[in-house]
């Protein structure tokens, strides 16, 4: 239990640093804006209490906001995403349901499952974030293009990271 908490805290810190130090400086063009810190929410254990899920999502988003000087923006998007997580997990649940003492990883539930999982939630997050950032529906398709491309980009990073760090 303590171990789990430590690992998640460490992941929290690493992801925040990775986001603000490295990824925020990657802007290949106006459309690509990778946000990989949402990986933290994706990787939280299945048994995470609902309130803790929301609170940690808020903390995560707020940390990013602090560095990006966008108070509340990433926080609200991340909380929105965390809110959708239980529902998403239910929808894409494998036939045998999630087993105890497993984690939402490629290793346990396969590449396709993880890709679906991350695509849905990352898309929700980016959709909320980018439209809230623009704060208007003018240039709707421009923003949508941004959302879709960034989603693919971020999800790509996220899935890739699974193969890099969680091979086991």
């Amino acid at each position: 239990m303590i171990n789990l908490l430590l690992r998640n805290t460490a992941r929290f810190v690493v992801l925040v640093l990775l986001q603000v130090l490295l990824l925020d400086n990657i802007q290949l063009n106006a459309y690509l804006n990778p946000f990989m810190y949402v990986l933290f929410i994706l990787l939280l254990p299945f048994e995470t209490p609902a309130w803790l899920l929301l609170v940690s999502a808020f903390l995560m988003g707020f940390s990013i906001d602090l560095f990006e000087h966008t108070p509340g923006m990433h926080a609200s998007a991340t909380v929105f995403m965390a809110f959708l997580r239980p529902l998403t997990l239910k929808i894409i649940a494998p036939r045998e349901d999630y087993e105890t003492s497993t984690y939402p990883r490629v290793f346990y539930y396969g590449f396709v499952w993880f890709l679906k999982y991350s695509l849905i939630l990352v898309f929700a997050h980016h959709l909320f974030l980018f439209y809230f950032e623009v704060f208007s529906f003018s240039g709707f398709f421009h923003t949508l293009g941004k959302v879709i491309l960034s989603t693919l980009f971020s999800s790509g990073f996220i899935v890739l990271s699974q193969f890099l760090f969680y091979r086991k």
Partner: protein, 275 residues
């Protein structure tokens, strides 16, 4: 109470979500100005750089037209000044007084050919006899005196500039009104020479030299230049080097001055018995 707690427990996920989301949104909206400013600024910056480039290109392309307009405007304003403040006469006339007659009239023109590297430099203007330009009229720029019209065709006029050793202009020291003749020595296109100022006159470097108004060509007080250096030549007279205020290498728009009372003046002076 019990049912409320049950309700809260049952829907605590949604309730908590709404609470936290509202908190975040409140945060975001309270700082919305900043957010907005930030995004708007970014876009503006990118757009601004682009627009600045386009704008500078556009203004550069339009520069010629703008300059022509400004020159025309200057000419018009100069004419108004001539009309409104002309006070050489003993009596002041109202503008609409039949006794009043405008003394000088200016015509704007553009230089289409300009020589500065010979001993007898001249410029060519894009206006000629058709626009009322006649030989002997003075030519000035906004910076100061330029020269005198030498010859005209229907649409063009040649002007002997100050940078021509053959042109002699009546000039005076502005502060004490001693006058002499200005003639280029053919050396530097920035320097002309003022002669015939008696050596007892006090001169300092930087003194302003203007037209004297004693010729019928230029009005009084048009800028020629400033004293650059001076020596006493041959005992009685200064040889004053004058830094010309007009940069002959880059002038482009000039005004041609016609003295509307020139004929009258010359007529009168001709009848004076010199002998």
């Amino acid at each position: 109470m019990k049912s409320l707690i049950q309700f809260l427990l049952r829907y605590h996920f949604i309730i908590l979500f709404i609470l936290i989301e509202l908190t975040s949104l409140t945060l975001a909206f309270r700082n919305n100005d900043y957010q907005k400013a930030r995004t708007v600024n970014l876009v503006q910056n990118i757009r601004g750089v682009y627009n600045a480039k386009i704008y500078s290109l556009k203004t550069y392309i339009g520069l010629r037209e703008i300059n022509e307009n400004l020159a025309a405007e200057n000419t018009r304003l100069n004419n108004i000044i001539q009309r409104a403040y002309h006070s050489d006469d003993i009596f002041f006339y109202r503008e609409d007084d039949p006794g009043y007659k405008q003394h000088y009239y200016m015509t704007g023109a553009t230089i289409i050919n300009n020589k500065t590297n010979t001993q007898h430099n001249f410029i060519t203007l894009n206006k000629g006899a058709e626009k009322g330009i006649k030989p002997g009229m003075g030519v000035i720029s906004n910076d100061g005196i330029v020269g005198v019209v030498f010859d005209v065709s229907k649409n063009y006029a040649t002007v002997i500039t100050l940078l021509n050793t053959k042109l002699i202009i009546s000039a005076k020291i502005k502060k004490n009104n001693y006058f002499g003749s200005l003639q280029w020595d053919g050396k530097s296109p920035e320097i002309s020479v003022l002669n015939e100022i008696p050596h007892h006159v006090e001169i300092n470097k930087g003194d302003t030299i203007t037209t004297s108004g004693y010729s019928s060509i230029f009005p009084e007080g048009i800028m020629i230049g400033t004293v650059n250096d001076y020596i006493v030549k041959g005992g009685n007279f200064y040889k004053i080097k004058v830094s010309l205020s007009t940069d002959f290498k880059k002038i482009r728009f000039v005004n041609v001055i016609s003295n509307l009372k020139k004929d009258e003046q010359l007529e009168l002076e001709k009848s004076f018995p010199y002998d």
